[in-house]
């Protein structure tokens, strides 16, 4: 047990700055690097714009029921965008960039799973209540 913990600590400490940039694996091929960079940057841009638009939408309609659903979408899409950025970092920077990428991906996983499970669990109820609300308003 103690041996295991010491090995882990050593590995983390040693590995912190020890990884080579990911581009090396891709042999610094300009084509594949260009594709990686442009597509991931583009996806990240889109995934930052969508939460921005959703946030503006939420501020505009303050009587919207179940605002937290959209808030969850803001968080998970923003996390997705961030993970695409950190992926580009790992192409050219080794070491800590991989840990940053891992952390961001973990958060993205949590936000995405939470949103997915929450929607599956609460979705039908939310739909029913919203339907009655709209019917009564008519």
């Amino acid at each position: 047990m103690l041996n295991g913990i010491s090995t882990l600590t050593y590995d983390i400490a040693q590995a912190w700055g020890g990884y080579a940039p990911h581009a090396i694996c891709l042999l610094y091929d300009p084509a594949i690097l260009a594709v990686e960079v442009v597509t991931n940057l583009g996806i990240a841009l889109a995934y930052f714009l969508i939460p921005f638009a959703l946030w503006r939408f939420l501020r505009g309609v303050d009587t919207l029921p179940f605002r937290s659903v959209l808030v969850m979408f803001v968080i998970f899409i923003f996390a997705c965008g961030a993970s695409h950025l950190t992926h580009i970092l790992t192409l050219f920077i080794g070491g800590w960039a991989y840990w940053a990428d891992a952390a961001v991906r973990t958060l993205t996983l949590i936000a995405s799973l939470g949103t997915a499970i929450g929607l599956i669990r609460h979705g039908p109820r939310i739909a029913g209540i919203t339907g009655r609300l709209l019917a009564a308003a008519r």
């Binding site: 295991g4 090995t7 882990l8 029921p65 179940f66 605002r67 937290s68 659903v69 808030v71 969850m72 973990t106 958060l107 996983l109 949590i110 936000a111 799973l113 939470g114 499970i117 929450g118 669990r121 609460h122 109820r125 939310i126 209540i129 919203t130 009655r132 609300l133 009564a136 308003a137």
Partner: protein, 388 residues
């Protein structure tokens, strides 16, 4: 090295699982809060909608109740209620049939359709009044006759006011026939009373002028008796509401003292004197009796009697005054008041004939009155003092 991978996978998976659980728990709190809010909103909105529907139902019901009251009011008031548009076209009529017996469809439609129900003499004025009201927007208030299906005309009153803003007209027609007829009867009666009062004053004037006695006391007594005779005739007339008076009743009133004393008897069929005949006849009977009491069968100290009989045929009333058993009589040297006033009343006023016969047993006076001439003779004039 294998166990290292498993450890890391477990660590990362555990982190992800805990993180997901935590995010779900956090989000769940928000969702529950938002759900409660939304449910409250739904309840409020649904209650609101229900209240709205209830209010609408009540409003519709209130409108229906108001409509029913309005109809009942129309029925209770025996009026026809109608509406017309700004151009004066009648758009709806209620109760028109009950009031006039005419088809309500005929009254609606054109501006002047309802005026067709107005009887001819009033139609022009009613049409002009309605046109003027529509043109000026001033309330209408007219009275006119409507040709009723039952025959004859009925007086109606139409009133209408324009409704501000819409320009529509709301009006009623009410049956005022009873009131109009009563008014007409009252006017007629007033004229009649006036006429009779003037007539009576003229007769009294004649009595005063024609009575000739040297002694003031006798003069007063004679005038007073004659006026009393007129008064009794007047009483009879007023008791009969200025209608016909039974001849027997008049004779009994004027000659009561002699009839009760058994000196005078009446014999004749039932006959109704028209109002115009009552006063002259009363005067004539009074004068005949007065004359008999002074000089004839009814005079003091004589045991005579009088028969008053009458008969009626198609054209005339024939009345005979017969004295028996009085002192011997002779035609008078001059015509006294009695003679002159009888002649004036019967001959001049009623167009009748007076014949006097001085027979040995007493005076016999026959009065003949043509009937046709006096059936419309209500407006007969008073005897003029100069006619004697």
């Amino acid at each position: 090295m294998r166990s290292d991978y498993a450890l890391w996978v477990a660590a990362v998976a555990a982190t992800a699982a805990f993180g997901t659980w935590a995010s779900l728990a956090l989000w769940g709190r928000f969702i529950r809060h938002e759900e409660a809010e939304a449910r409250a909103l739904v309840a409020a909105r649904e209650a609101e909608a229900l209240a709205g529907a209830e209010a609408e139902r009540r409003a519709v019901e209130a409108l229906a109740a108001s409509e029913r009251r309005h109809r009942a009011l129309t029925e209770a008031g025996a009026i026809a209620a109608w509406r017309a548009d700004a151009a004066g076209r009648v758009t709806a009529v209620e109760g028109w049939q009950a009031l006039t017996g005419l088809d309500p469809a005929g009254a609606a439609g054109s501006a002047e359709a309802w005026l067709a129900a107005v009887a001819e003499p009033d139609r022009g004025a009613a049409t002009a009044a309605w046109r003027r009201a529509v043109a000026d927007g001033t309330p209408l208030d007219i009275e006119f006759r409507v040709a009723a299906l039952s025959g004859g005309n009925r007086w109606c009153r139409a009133r209408a006011v324009p409704v501000p803003a819409s320009g529509e007209w709301i009006g009623v027609v009410e049956d005022i026939d009873g009131r109009r007829r009563a008014e007409e009867a009252r006017m007629l009666l007033a004229r009649e009373v006036n006429h009779r009062a003037k007539n009576m004053l003229a007769v009294v004037q004649a009595v005063v002028r024609l009575t000739r006695t040297p002694d003031p006391t006798q003069f007063a007594a004679a005038v007073s008796a004659r006026i009393a005779a007129l008064g009794r005739a007047h009483d009879l007339l007023s008791q009969r509401d200025w209608g016909d008076v039974e001849l027997t009743e008049l004779a009994r009133g004027e000659l009561a003292a002699w009839i009760e004393g058994g000196r005078l008897r009446l014999e004749g069929p039932a006959f109704r004197l028209t109002p115009a005949m009552v006063q002259p006849m009363a005067i004539a009977l009074h004068e005949l009796a007065t004359n008999a009491a002074k000089y004839g069968a009814l005079s003091p100290g004589s045991a005579g009697s009088v028969g008053l009989g009458w008969a009626v045929n198609d054209a005339a009333l024939r009345l005979v005054w017969e004295e028996h058993g009085g002192p011997p009589v002779a035609p008078p040297e001059r015509r006294g008041f009695g003679t002159r006033v009888i002649d004036a009343s019967i001959t001049d006023q009623l167009g009748g004939r007076v014949e006097r016969e001085w027979l040995p047993e007493g005076l016999r006076c026959t009065i003949t009155l043509p009937l046709k001439a006096h059936e419309k003779g209500e407006e007969a004039e008073a005897p003029s003092p100069n006619q004697s």
